[in-house]
Symmetry: C2
Subunit: 187 residues, 2 copies
């Protein structure tokens, strides 16, 4: 089996290929994302649009959307996390919490458009909290401000350990199970 | 001349028709909006998509996008204002300002897709600030927390006076001037 993973990030592709155990090509068509706080909704639209942009290829098209959900903010920033990062940054997100409840979750939605155009969604979630200040040099995006439950380290301080059980790893593991079951049915 | 105004809000249509002095029909095709902080970008995409959804009609298709830009937030919430309102509400926006600089501007972008499919954008801006607490019963959305420069009233406390010189009125007046010049050229 082969599939195409829509991402501009080569390290994401490698990591995904390692977890899934299938050959993943990388493609980066320019797909505008729809406005929503909901990861699954954004990823689903993106998977459909990417499949169309790639000319409905004879193999599955995989996309990812991920971000941070602050409990006290009732869904924000959610699938709009990148706009928070791009405008106020990690420091700004902490300032906007204004000393209130820092409970948050990290979410990754994978959407796979199959060769019939049907979209299957797999969501991985890690509970945790926003750090009191950005810490750590590894990773990217909001990694310096997310502390998963059960540790005091931010994603950006965990290095490779992050990949053991991140929101993204959980979503990819669900997809792997689904692919294995599907292979079993087809065999 | 006639045009179609894509809005679910009948009072917006009436107001727009009054300012423009042209007959506006209302249509409400279900158009997902693209993720961006930028009003003109969101409105431009929406105008193209709406024109397509309406079957490229032989008259202009007009759409609107509006919201609040908080100076201290470097573009946020911008064209994503409705997601802030839907999750944390007006009270939440004030809390997230955390006692900091409340300077803000109200922005309305109108995008008109003409009968050739070209899109023309008109933007109206009003400087002001976010109120210390929501006040007033008129209007909708973030009207209770926006205080235009030169007054102490929120949009929601101004009643009909709001329409005299709002971000939306300014955008529609620009469009009116453009339509009049265009009419002059064609005559």
């Amino acid at each position: 089996m082969r599939a195409v993973f829509v991402t501009t990030n080569e390290s994401k592709r490698r990591e995904a290929q390692r977890i899934l155990g299938v050959e993943l090509e990388r493609a980066a068509p320019d797909i505008p994302e729809v406005q929503s706080l909901d990861f699954a909704e954004v990823a689903t639209h993106k998977a459909r649009a990417a499949r169309k942009a790639l000319g409905s290829p004879p193999y599955p098209v995989l996309v990812e959307d991920s971000g941070l959900v602050v409990g006290a903010w009732n869904g924000l920033p959610g699938a709009l996390t990148k706009w928070f990062l791009g405008s106020v940054g990690n420091e700004g997100i902490i300032e906007m919490l204004c000393g209130g409840d820092r409970g948050a979750r990290a979410v990754c939605a994978l959407a796979l458009a199959d060769t019939h155009g049907a979209v299957h969604v797999f969501e991985g979630v890690i509970q945790g909290e926003v750090a009191a200040e950005p810490r750590g040099e590894e990773g990217f995006g909001w990694d310096p401000i997310f502390v998963p439950q059960g540790t005091r380290l931010t994603y950006a301080e965990m290095g490779e350990d992050k990949h053991e059980d991140s929101h993204r790893a959980r979503a990819f593991r669900q997809l792997r199970v689904w692919l294995e079951e599907k292979d079993g049915q087809e065999a």
